[in-house]
Symmetry: none
Subunit: 192 residues, 4 copies
């Protein structure tokens, strides 16, 4: 009658694995499945059963951020101001990347291994496209900005804040502030 018998251990192990992996990603360390297993206090095979590859694990880490961004995009579309809604969404976009390096990795990846990731990216892209189209139709943004530019540009800002010496020394909050500052500059330039 019990739908999930032993699942308690399993769930806890999976969570531990994900937590350990997140810690490594946040520190900028390499994610090695053997090492993850060791730090999580589980056997290697347990990691492998849950995540058949490093990529799968990274995508798992990115999933909540992608889901959250989709939520933001939908809410942004409810906002009637074409410019402000786009700007807000882009703000969430870079913030998510700075807070979760796995998201940047997944964004830049040519292929994704989890169906869930593919699905989420396939959902988010068009939503971002709609936000941009609406802004462009209302002549709020420059006309030479296409929907293919949005994600790369946001990743570029995240990269500027994440990958450079000057900023790596800073704490996360300060990086988020820098990211918003950079975004503000870019947004000024993006206005029509």
């Amino acid at each position: 009658m019990n739908a999930e018998p032993t699942r308690r251990d399993a769930t806890r192990n999976r969570k531990r694995i994900v937590d350990v992996a997140r810690g490594l990603v946040d520190d900028g360390s390499a994610v090695q499945l053997n090492e993850v297993a060791r730090l999580a206090g589980v056997g290697v095979a347990t990691v492998y059963r849950n995540f058949p590859s490093v990529e799968a694990l990274i995508e798992e880490l990115a999933t909540p951020s992608l889901e959250s961004l989709i939520g933001h995009a939908k809410r942004a579309l409810d906002n009637e101001d074409p410019w402000q809604s786009l700007a807000d969404f882009l703000g969430h976009t870079i913030e998510a990347q700075v807070n979760n390096p796995a998201l940047s990795t997944v964004n830049a990846a040519l292929v994704n291994v989890l169906p869930r990731t593919v699905e989420l990216k396939a959902t988010l892209g068009p939503l971002a496209g709609q936000l941009l189209d609406r802004a462009r139709r209302s002549r709020a943004v420059r006309s030479d900005l296409t929907s293919e530019d949005v994600i790369p540009l946001m990743c570029g800002i995240a990269f500027a804040v994440t990958a450079h010496d000057v900023h790596r020394r800073a704490d996360r909050d300060s990086r988020v502030r820098t990211a918003h500052r950079y975004l503000t500059m870019l947004l000024t330039g993006l206005r029509a």
Copy 2:
């Protein structure tokens, strides 16, 4: 007893090594010193004598770009228009990165192994700082842009153009064009 018996060969070998490495970096392939040696038709130890590590070789590849950028910065300082000279220099900056992926790597590296690289970066930074200061003093750029932001932002644009699927499909010329387009957007935002 001859102090330099085959200096000519040595020079040619070094050149071959660098050329092979550049080819690999341009293709986005990993630079492995054994592989470089094989492709260059020299022994591994020859590679190691010239470049004690992969990083050293990458820095060697970046050197001409850094030198060239320093030249551009100096000439820009000769130009009396504070805004235009800055814009020109930044244009060269991203163009150099798109044309030479090794430059992006070296820019993002926390430490550099070749004294020459350290020296070049230590020269270029202040020059860029001077260009920015001059523009700021003349109120041509927004006041919240600091000299520490310039390099990261340029790297961010290069990253947007380099690391994303959409653009990876494109050829180099088209990537350079995209980079200039992105830079134009950002520059508009950077103006006071």
Copy 3:
């Protein structure tokens, strides 16, 4: 309180496991207990409870063939023609091996793990010996053929038909025909 609550399920599970294993052996695939469990739709532990090791499962697959061969041997001893009865039995012997690869494996194994297998092999060997002895006493076969040669020779023929490229391309029926052809050749040589 019920001594055998779901004996029916247990029997069905065991059968499924054996069927799946036979399928794998027939295809020349490796028999891995985890994989067997998955394909059979049961848990690994269920497989392990029924068959403590891969070898035990393989021997289980061979059991019907061994039993059948014992039946053939006994019937052959009822046949009064010493030569024909031997020839018939050997025909069944190779046919069984070609039809059931597990039998070859068990034949070649140095040790057997199931008591049943040990018992069956201990029964079959002497029966084959009796058939040979009778033929030898009647001078139907050459005198330098001993009872220790019979099983290996049959396995050799099965191997020739089973393990070689040329024949692996063929279907099972055609392999059986080849096996009989090879046996005929050997039998001709075995005649006194």
Copy 4:
């Protein structure tokens, strides 16, 4: 001027590797490249550079036997007696397999990884075919024996002598004698 500078160590290492592997194959042990390296007292990578895979190493072990068999086949074709020359060659064939288990492995393999092995097998097959054809044309052997049967049959005899308990207990010389006895029986049956 020196064509092979350090080659002495290299040659010795390669020989050690091959010797160790032969020992393992002769004992019926698995050939694992790590283990081979350990036993040979060399680094793993040295084994891998010489032999990219276990199969390559096994084929190397089989090479001398294949070369020797080709020599025997050619000499057999010089012998004018169609039957005796065939019988002699087949004798060498099973002797080679009993003395060198790697040969059996290579014979049974569907694909070969060393070009040399492919070449040798492609040479030996037709030579054996010629010997058989000549014997068949002179009506020395039964007409239903085709050239595709010869190699499998010899492998079958080798298998009978090699893979069975009874014979595994015996020393090599005694196994060779058994193999010749089995071959004699089969040859009697193969005569027209």
